[in-house]
Symmetry: C2
Subunit: 294 residues, 2 copies
Amino acid sequence: MVDLGPYDVLLSVAELGSMGRAAERHGVTQAAVSARIRSLEGALGVTLLERSPRGTRLTPHGALVADWARVAVDAAEALDAGVTSIRSEQAARLRVAASLTVAEYLLPRWLVALRTEHPETSVSLSSRNSTDVAADVLAGAADLGFVEGPAVSDDLDAQVVARDRLTLVVAPGHAWASRRRGIDAERLRATPLVAREHGSGTRAFLEHSVGALAEPALELASTTAIKGAVAAGVAPAVLSSLAVAGELAVGTLVAVHVVGLDLDRRLAAVWPRGRPLAGPAADLVGLATRRREG
Amino acid sequence: MVDLGPYDVLLSVAELGSMGRAAERHGVTQAAVSARIRSLEGALGVTLLERSPRGTRLTPHGALVADWARVAVDAAEALDAGVTSIRSEQAARLRVAASLTVAEYLLPRWLVALRTEHPETSVSLSSRNSTDVAADVLAGAADLGFVEGPAVSDDLDAQVVARDRLTLVVAPGHAWASRRRGIDAERLRATPLVAREHGSGTRAFLEHSVGALAEPALELASTTAIKGAVAAGVAPAVLSSLAVAGELAVGTLVAVHVVGLDLDRRLAAVWPRGRPLAGPAADLVGLATRRREG
DNA sequence: TGGGGTCATAAGCTGCGCTTGTGCCCCTGA
DNA sequence: TCAGGGGCACAAGCGCAGCTTATGACCCCA
């Protein structure tokens, strides 16, 4: 597996314009940075940085590699922020409970941002379904919750932090893929889908919107596995737009409109009613909201 | 920086259902896999795998971590496939020249797929603008090219492998973000944008569609930097839908419709006319096409 | 009841990447 | 004109992470 360390360093050098400053940011020696970059260049056989006595700039090759690397490094940082928050810290200053869609796609990046803006805040995350999240927050087992759909309890204050849309997706070769008009809800109800095991909030929301569904064609444990099965032509699936944005852009999956159905969902932060948000919880909600509202 | 090795192993274990088989896939001992997983669990303070004498399954915690990890590992693999193809191999069996959008967003994943389907194929990649790509292919300096927009020369055969759409994006707080109707082309022409240095094919295509543009508000070296500037409210930008799909889904950026303008683009593979595709070049084009067509 | 499958543990070795220390080069400013 | 500082590169030595090998415990099934 690739070691992202050198690429992380490369990105810092590119941003800061000097190996010395990048070394400082990473808490290592300038010599270490120099060696890392050189060995990276050695492995690639091209120079990535244009050195000068005044500093350092990316070469065109370097810019391409840096763009690729940014994606990987960002994903790795999100992963790290996520797993750090899972580590059951008794010392955690902020206990968050989140439903699956939020935990899977949104929270890691929020945690990365929170870490840079408020490094002193430690977060502990537990992933539950939406009703359990509400229960945890009401019982004081969590300071802050994130749920799918409208507010679940009158005893909670809520703030919408994101939206998504349940999206019917099929493989590019599927008959539905070329239907410009989409399909109707009846057709969807009658079709076996690829679904998540233990049908989470997504499935409940879908059944609430279209009515009872056919038995799943296949039940899988992870969203990634579902996407793979759909792309392989097993059956269609209904997933959050957050989950399939990349695949839709690249064309690995195709979205199919469902006539007359509005599958927009609000993703909201919730906390005990009447107790104004403060401290780390307010930081996190503010940061999450800012990502949408500017 | 996070070491993705243990997560890669975790994903293999989850997929194969046993540490021993995962060890085999990675070419290491079962003991090494066991140790890696244990140390990962130790660092997190939770168990990720449910061990049994018949094998191993993800716990709910494990499933969440695995979904996060899949994103990071995939990105790292794409990065690795990309840099491997930059390594100027004299032994390369397939020389590819690609324009920036294709090189940045599409090719790495194609190369990952090519590596698994045809491990014996080594690829060398050079990133040029579309006209240079065509010239390289015609001159025999590249076996296969990928260009933006319609075919550039009558001496080349072409095959559309993907589409994208140039997209006007602004920060969520920008005045245009709330305009349901979008803005007209005149407004776009008159507005200084954040642009890429040395305006690549994207800028040329845009000027071809809407006419001469205002002087850029800011010129930056990487797409990532442009997205950051737009999100920070510096100015709008026009980028490939491939570049902004994730940000649009999450809400970090907002797409603005430009009335009466069709910015759809075809991304095509090109090769010398009359010489039917064969060998590694045919593999790659086929694989890239299949990702769209099923 | 033994054989094949699973995972865990212990001991020992290897190699990668760090630090420290130094050298060279270029620009700047007194 | 020359000293100083900031830039990067090179060499020597060390520490530790993670591997392998070898073995043990457990469970299931024939």
